[in-house]
Symmetry: C2
Subunit: 272 residues, 2 copies
């Protein structure tokens, strides 16, 4: 089932933060069946009877996470390529240590990614995102996937020079608009059959098997839950493989993952 977070153009005031939004079920005929509340929260998910056409709504970020987790380095080829590009040592993680991203940077499918005027090397990272649907602590790997509500796509946009020069990833990874997520949440997903394809201006630039991770989702979730409580509305971005060309203003980047859809964003120059 596909859960979409949307607003109607007629509803939208100038300030995006105040925009009334709601969830709906997206059917195979591109109709949205609106529901009450938030599907993975108590009392959410009941159909209101309202139906919209996908083409007539604005797609919103699927959710603003409570905690925004990110695996970071989690595909072997990407680790080698990152080391070669930045002139740093190859650093294959020995254990599943989760990292963090920040919600200020989120944008929806079809919203622009703004490249700051002093950014020099901007790259994409196409990622599988797990959305947590129920509170969880001390899960075994076998139990881990039971707390996942569904899956979406993330583009972990990164400025590689800041990633190398700064003590943390704050602006390299979390500059406003650097975290496209969407287009919707799919509850059925077979990661072992999925492929991630990234296109820049329509041409394929990266292609890999989505499930060939160093540490898979059950490993990450089980290990995280040994020390911390996962909450409904948390997300976990699972990392990326391959490499990205330098993305410049005017480029359109599409991340497609089998079964999850296409996340598409145009990159534009900052105007100050």
């Amino acid at each position: 089932m596909r859960w979409i977070h949307f607003s109607e153009p007629a509803d939208r005031p100038a300030a995006a933060a105040d925009r009334p939004t709601r969830y709906g079920i997206l059917d195979d005929d591109d109709r949205i069946h609106a529901v009450r509340g938030t599907p993975w929260m108590a009392g959410g998910g009941e159909k209101t009877g309202q139906v919209h056409r996908l083409a007539e709504v604005k797609i919103e970020v699927p959710l603003v996470p409570r905690t925004f987790y990110a695996a970071g380095l989690n595909y072997v080829k990407h680790i080698h390529e990152y080391a070669a590009k930045t002139g740093t040592a190859v650093n294959i993680p020995e254990q599943a240590d989760i990292g963090y991203r920040a919600v200020n940077a989120l944008v929806a499918h079809e919203e622009d990614v703004v490249i700051p005027s002093d950014a020099r090397q901007v790259e994409y990272e196409g990622e599988v995102v797990a959305v947590i649907g129920r509170q969880a602590r001390n899960l075994s790997p076998a139990e881990a996937m039971g707390c996942v509500f569904g899956y979406t796509i993330g583009n972990d946009v990164s400025e590689r020079l800041w990633q190398k020069s700064d003590r943390t990833f704050w602006r390299a990874k979390n500059t406003d608009t650097f975290k496209p997520m969407g287009p919707w949440i799919e509850t059925e997903f077979d990661i072992d059959r999925a492929e991630t394809t990234v296109r820049v201006n329509g041409a394929v630039t990266t292609h890999f098997r989505s499930g060939e991770m160093l540490f898979d989702m059950p490993t990450f979730i089980s290990r995280m839950s040994r020390y911390l409580t996962l909450h409904p509305g948390d997300v976990i971005w699972m990392g990326t493989d391959g490499k990205s060309p330098n993305i410049v203003a005017g480029d359109v980047v599409e991340v497609e993952i089998t079964g999850l859809g296409i996340l598409r964003n145009r990159f534009v120059a900052e105007t100050r």
Copy 2:
């Protein structure tokens, strides 16, 4: 003015997450004047007429931040002591690069910090916390403090062996209960006259001038706002000075900052 976030014992169901909470103004006679909504949000802060006694309520975490920022290394003495203790190089940051912590780890004044059974070296870090009250982008250092609603106290509890061994700070800093914050939010605060004192079981173990930071709050906020939007309800933990003894189960740690009050938490052993 002191804003306190509280619940009444009679209101509390078993699950802490579902506990009804509200804000109030704490006066000099330890009375709480309850208000509607959230003081720094639209429509919040109007008195309801209800008055409670401080001794009769449960103090809650002042807020669950939207984004939980932390300066990390921001006092020179602490940087030297951390390097000596961990056997790593002295690393004085050259620029104000903000980091992140996670909301799962928050606990309130007087709530317990639970030491995991496999933790070996647990330390406190007493910190000034700035609470953001309005949306902000591209602030100059002179403008920066205008987006701050008030201040509270944080204890950035850390497991130093994990901090050294792991690729990120995820469990070293963000294990459940490792982030005491409180006891309330004070809107008037003169950091240049403030001192931070930490006591373990009543004996002073750390004492430093709160304002002797490597990068002060206007510097951090201005630099952050060049790349990211600050939002009402974000918090920024400003780092710590000095060193901490190894904290063990049974210890009570108090962080006192001039004008902000005392944040007190007992450390207990995990029971699994």
